[in-house]
């Protein structure tokens, strides 16, 4: 079951500026969905559409299997959000900020103390929010978003501007919310490295189009399928014939032989075969593609389309 599901979602700011092209977002319930893409790819616009902050022009948005435009208030009651920079009342304290949202969400007052406890801001007392560090503001924004114990959390680049320690803290907090409180999280970022340790599913958007969507494991498999092995021997021509018995896609260069990444068993067998044929092996090296490289290639592929 999908917590968020969009079909053919398109949006344009002007006749010449189409920012989203038929976005099909599918966020499974209970997942942490990393919504990745470079700046200007359409992430924030998509998330704003999911929250009803921009009027939908084309396509369908379903939250919890219900159309957003028909059940806006009911669906927002189950959703918490933080879009771009933290939105907080700087002249008020953390507790007063949450008191405002407690009124708006019509949730019990004890939720305020619980939310502050979860984000580690229970001891801020009478300190005004404008005196908070960016990390504290981000955490208070999360507290605002989880105050009413939503089933879905939509976070737009929540780690922006945080130091490495703050990023780790935020990651731990989101993992806790997902595993212990069962909240489905959609988190956008322009850096894969920043969220690859957090997410279970990913969607990659580039130039307004979804270029990849699936589990993180699927992305990792893609990484493995696109990785290569390099072999350098005393006799590359003879070695290539032996390699071809293991894998067909072999390229012989002046210096080395390159081939798709083999399984551990095949690597051992290839090595044995080369030794049996008395071919000296100088180098046998797996060149794994980084996830980041796959990500960049997916993005660049769309840009050049």
């Amino acid at each position: 079951m999908y917590c968020v599901h969009t079909t053919a979602l398109s949006h344009r700011f002007s006749a010449s500026q189409q920012v989203l092209k038929e976005i099909e977002l599918a966020v499974p319930t209970g997942s942490i969905y990393g919504f990745l893409g470079p700046n200007g790819a359409g992430k924030t616009t998509t998330l704003r559409l999911l929250l009803g902050l921009i009027k939908k022009q084309q396509g369908e948005i379903l939250l919890f299997d219900q159309p957003l435009h028909l059940h806006r208030l009911q669906l927002l009651r189950q959703t918490g959000s933080m879009i771009e920079v933290p939105s907080l009342y700087g002249h008020l304290t953390a507790k007063e900020n949450l008191l405002i949202w407690q009124k708006l969400y019509q949730c019990p007052k004890p939720h305020i103390a619980e939310a502050l406890q979860i984000v580690g801001l229970a001891d801020t007392g009478n300190k005004r929010v404008r005196q908070f560090s960016l990390g504290m503001k981000q955490r208070l924004s999360i507290a605002t978003a989880i105050l009413h114990q939503p089933a879905l959390l939509i976070l737009d680049e929540p780690t922006n501007g945080l130091d490495p320690y703050g990023i780790i803290e935020m990651r731990d907090l989101l993992k806790t919310l997902n595993t212990q409180h069962g909240i489905t999280i959609v988190i956008s970022s322009h850096l894969l490295a920043e969220i690859e340790k957090l997410v279970t599913h990913t969607g990659i958007i580039s130039a307004g189009r979804i270029v990849f969507q699936g589990t993180l494991n699927e992305l990792v498999s893609r990484q493995q399928s696109e990785s290569q092995m390099i072999l350098q021997t005393a006799n590359n021509t003879e070695a290539a014939q032996i390699v071809k018995t293991f894998v067909s896609d072999v390229v012989i260069n002046a210096q080395h032989i390159s081939m798709p990444l083999l399984s551990k068993e095949k690597i051992a067998a290839l090595h044995r075969a080369l030794v049996q044929h008395k071919i000296d092996v100088y180098e046998m090296n797996a060149i794994k593609k980084e996830l980041e490289t796959i990500f960049m290639e997916l993005i660049n592929q769309t840009k050049h389309d």
């Binding site: 921009i54 927002l76 008020l92 009124k103 019509q106």
Partner: protein, 259 residues
């Protein structure tokens, strides 16, 4: 709907804590009475003349409302209304507010009602401060008697009610403008142009059509100094108020981007 409105209103009430607009209410209400107090302390003859007039409270009320109605009240409305909407713009809150599960109408009308409550708060404080302004000189100066005359509560309420109604069109117009612009200077500039325009047009025969001039026009009628028009200002004010509230709401609710 009613529930979400009252919740929105109490949320708005929390937002105004320690805000400039809430301080403006206190300062605005006490400014003229403070000047009166100082004047009565420095020139006790002024207050003695009031005692001899036989219409102590009425004349005091007119004196305190004079500057208030012509300049301070309209200027204060422009500033306070712009500051209230600015709380959302300044803190980048519109987008967050619009993801709350409350109807847009509750957000709009709770803000408007908050402004009206603040105006009522201003009037209550202003009347109390005006009352105090004649007690302090009597306490500090033996030659000044205490104002032990009965206050005609109905008159005070009627007068305050008339100024309140006269303020409504400017409030609703300024509210509609302030919701549209992130840059604080735009609504402030527009509001000041309206207020100054109202003052300049004071003797124009069609001044009854200019909402920013209504508080000053009411003062003119109350003091008997001018009788500008045979038109019913209360009806004009209420009519403008309804029209501006509707236009403001339509502009607000039909914005393509809600933050």
């Amino acid at each position: 709907m009613t529930n979400s409105f009252t919740n929105c209103l109490s949320a708005e009430w929390i937002k105004k804590r320690r805000s400039f607009s809430s301080w403006l209410v206190v300062v605005g209400a006490c400014f003229i009475p403070l000047i009166l107090t100082i004047m009565f302390l420095v020139y006790p003859k002024q207050i003695l003349d009031l005692h001899h007039s036989g219409q102590f409270w009425r004349i005091l009320q007119l004196r305190s409302w004079e500057t208030m109605s012509i300049i301070l009240l309209p200027m204060g409305i422009v500033l306070a209304v712009s500051l209230i909407t600015q709380i959302e713009f300044k803190n980048n809150m519109w987008k967050q507010l619009h993801t709350a599960p409350v109807p847009f109408s509750s957000i709009y009308f709770s803000k408007l009602v908050l402004i009206l409550l603040m105006l009522a708060q201003l009037f209550v404080l202003f009347n109390i401060a005006t009352y105090v302004s004649v007690w302090i000189p009597a306490l500090l100066n033996r030659d000044v008697p205490f104002p032990l005359y009965a206050i005609n509560g109905t008159d005070v309420l009627k007068e305050n009610g008339a100024y309140f109604i006269a303020s409504l069109p400017l409030i609703s117009l300024q509210f509609a403008i302030s919701l549209q612009f992130k840059n604080f200077l735009v609504p402030i500039g527009a509001g000041l142009v309206l207020v100054v325009g109202g003052i300049i047009a004071h003797s124009w025969k069609y001044v009854y059509m200019l909402p920013p001039a209504y508080t000053a026009l009411h003062f003119g009628e109350a003091s008997g100094s001018t009788k500008h028009t045979d038109h019913n200002l209360t009806l004009w004010a209420l009519g403008y108020f309804v029209v501006f509230v509707i236009i403001g709401y339509l502009l607000y609710v039909n914005r393509k981007e809600k933050g």
